[in-house]
């Protein structure tokens, strides 16, 4: 059976033993080159899950980003600090998948603590891009996106804080959905920036993303920020006609380092939407250029606070040969944290420290509201907002050496995260170098059904495009 690029929907009709065996053979074949997993389960062992023949995910393999806790299965956050950590409990997302009968085949590589846009910050090595092994898979959920693109798993669960599902999905030519903040529980997610973190699916098709969201969405008593707004059947509206749909295109997104070739793919996608009867409306999101700066203050402040718990006492790495408790904190955190984690801890500590709190953190929290209000105003005029997902296609491994240039990879995704909105990246074409380029569809809060509908109709319309015939390099 041809396993690569098979969707959840297709696999759900197949013999599950065969599906799983094909999945492991593909992992075995590709993994030496791709390194999309930190931990791969050894084979067809009985895993801790329920058999649930009623669920479409029953018996279907899935990769889980290594920042989501899996009971009795090593969870590292791709960080040395948690090298030997085996969680005694499941993240809510993981529990929901297991209850649906999903089979976890491994834990996907990412930037350590999900800090990064390339997986180059992983303490376990980089995950290259399946379309060009000299380039990055994106990040932080690079392993999750690469594993799907290379056909190691039909879907995976990533997490998105400032673009960490959408940007690698764009770089790897797959679908990546960041739900509304609070739509999917963060319980058991190794926290990066708690006011921004969102788990979500990475899949081959928009329909599969809707199928997975149906399983993982919902209120969770263990995460007080989950919403009690109604969970919909996200597959129901997929085929709704989009004639007359008003698509907002923010003019600010055409500066900000947008590569010409990405701009070309984006313009073609606008033509496709117009052909389908949608109306393109020019809009303005005036505070767009402040998105990355706002994001890097709020996010590092929350990172420095969340990483405060790693003290070498309760679990995880602990430095040897310290003379007393305080010395053990300093040594554990020096040896256990990598370069980027330390940089973010230092920056976050700075913006929260007395004397700088008002000038940096409070200022950023105010600009955050302005960014949020920009979107709210725009949604009074349009149904969805369409942008490129990332300003560039996948860049070369080692290309972005300074932190600020790496942070700019989030320029189109971070404002959406600050506003807590749902967004999906769908493949829309290729660059001249045969690298995938995605577009981002953003919707109002809790209207995942709408962005999934628009994304699905676009995917259908582009189903026979020439670029759909391109094949990965692994």
């Amino acid at each position: 059976m041809e396993f690569i690029n098979k969707t959840i929907k297709e696999l759900s009709k197949k013999d599950k033993r065969e599906v799983l065996s094909d999945c492991f053979s593909r992992i075995k074949e590709v993994e030496p080159k791709l390194h999309a997993f930190v931990t791969v389960l050894s084979g067809l062992e009985e895993v801790d899950r329920k058999d649930n023949p009623k669920s479409i995910l029953n018996g279907i393999p899935v990769g889980i980003k290594d920042v989501l806790c899996t009971r009795n299965l090593r969870t590292t956050a791709s960080a040395k600090m948690l090298d030997g950590f085996t969680p005694p409990y499941n993240a809510t997302v993981v529990k929901k998948l297991k209850d649906a009968g999903a089979i976890i085949v491994g834990k996907n590589n990412c930037d350590a603590w999900a800090h990064g846009a390339s997986t180059e910050n992983s303490d376990y090595g980089v995950t290259p891009n399946p379309w060009d092994l000299e380039r990055v898979s994106g990040g932080s959920s690079g392993g999750s996106a690469a594993a799907v693109a290379a056909g190691e798993v039909p879907y995976s669960i990533g997490t998105d804080t400032g673009g960490s599902i959408r940007q690698p999905a764009s770089f790897c030519g797959v679908v990546g959905l960041k739900p509304t903040y609070g739509r999917v529980s963060r319980y058991g997610l190794i926290a990066m920036a708690s006011s921004l973190d969102c788990p979500g699916p990475i899949t081959h098709t928009v329909e599969d993303a809707a199928i997975v969201l149906n399983v993982i969405a919902g209120k969770d008593e263990k995460d007080a920020t989950t919403s009690d707004s109604q969970v919909l059947d996200y597959t129901k509206d997929l085929n709704k006609d989009i004639k007359g749909l008003k698509i907002g295109v923010p003019k600010e997104y055409f500066g900000l380092g947008l590569f010409d070739e990405v701009g070309e793919v984006f313009k073609k996608s606008l033509e496709t939407f117009e052909k389908m009867g949608a109306e393109v409306v020019n809009i303005t999101l005036p505070h767009t250029e402040y998105g990355v700066a706002t994001y890097y203050i709020i996010q590092t402040a929350e990172v420095s606070s969340n990483l405060g718990r790693y003290d070498g006492v309760k679990y995880g790495f602990s430095a040897k040969d310290s003379k007393d408790l305080i010395d053990s904190y300093f040594k554990t955190r020096d040896e256990g944290f990598g370069d980027e984690a330390k940089r973010r801890i230092m920056l976050g500590t700075y913006v929260l420290s007395s004397g700088y709190y008002d000038a940096y953190y409070l200022k950023a929290a105010k600009v955050r509201r302005l960014i949020h209000d920009d979107f709210v105003k725009a949604f009074e005029k349009v149904d969805i907002i369409l942008t490129p997902t990332a300003p560039t296609p996948a860049f070369k491994i080692g290309e972005k050496a300074d932190p600020v240039s790496m942070y700019m990879a989030d320029v189109f995704t971070a404002p959406v995260s600050l506003a807590g909105l749902p967004a999906i990246s769908v493949p829309a074409g290729f660059s001249a170098d045969k690298l995938p380029v995605g577009i981002q569809i953003v919707g109002p809060h809790f209207e995942e059904n709408k962005i999934l509908n628009v994304a699905h109709m676009f995917e259908k319309e582009a189903a026979n495009a020439d670029w759909r015939k391109n094949k990965v390099a692994v």
Binding site: P88, S318, D324, M346, Y350, P403
Partner: protein, 98 residues
């Protein structure tokens, strides 16, 4: 405001954050922090008079629930087994007092 970050400032931050740093790291973070803070200072261009700070993107209200005991999947022995140092069913730490 943040054109230059002194060695002492980096050392002070590292102390607050309980992160030991080598001299080479201190030199590197002086530059990195100055670069990043220089970039984020563009926020000063934005007029935020009378703007309420926002903590998260969605409208959320305080959630309370009854305080009750719940038996989780993990056993006490499993929880304790993750601690790097333990003795007789307790987590062991270095001395606090001299």
């Amino acid at each position: 405001m943040a054109e230059k970050i002194s060695k002492e400032e980096v050392e002070y931050l590292a102390k607050l954050a309980r992160v030991g740093l080598t001299d080479a790291e201190i030199t590197k973070y002086r530059k990195d922090l100055a670069d990043i803070l220089g970039y984020v200072e563009k926020l000063n261009e934005v007029n935020t008079d009378n703007v309420e700070p926002m903590a998260q993107g969605i409208k959320a209200k305080n959630v309370t629930r009854e305080d009750r005991i719940e038996i989780l999947e993990g056993t006490p022995a499993e929880l304790l087994s993750e601690a790097p140092s333990k003795e007789d069913g307790f987590i062991k730490v270095k001395s606090i007092f001299e």
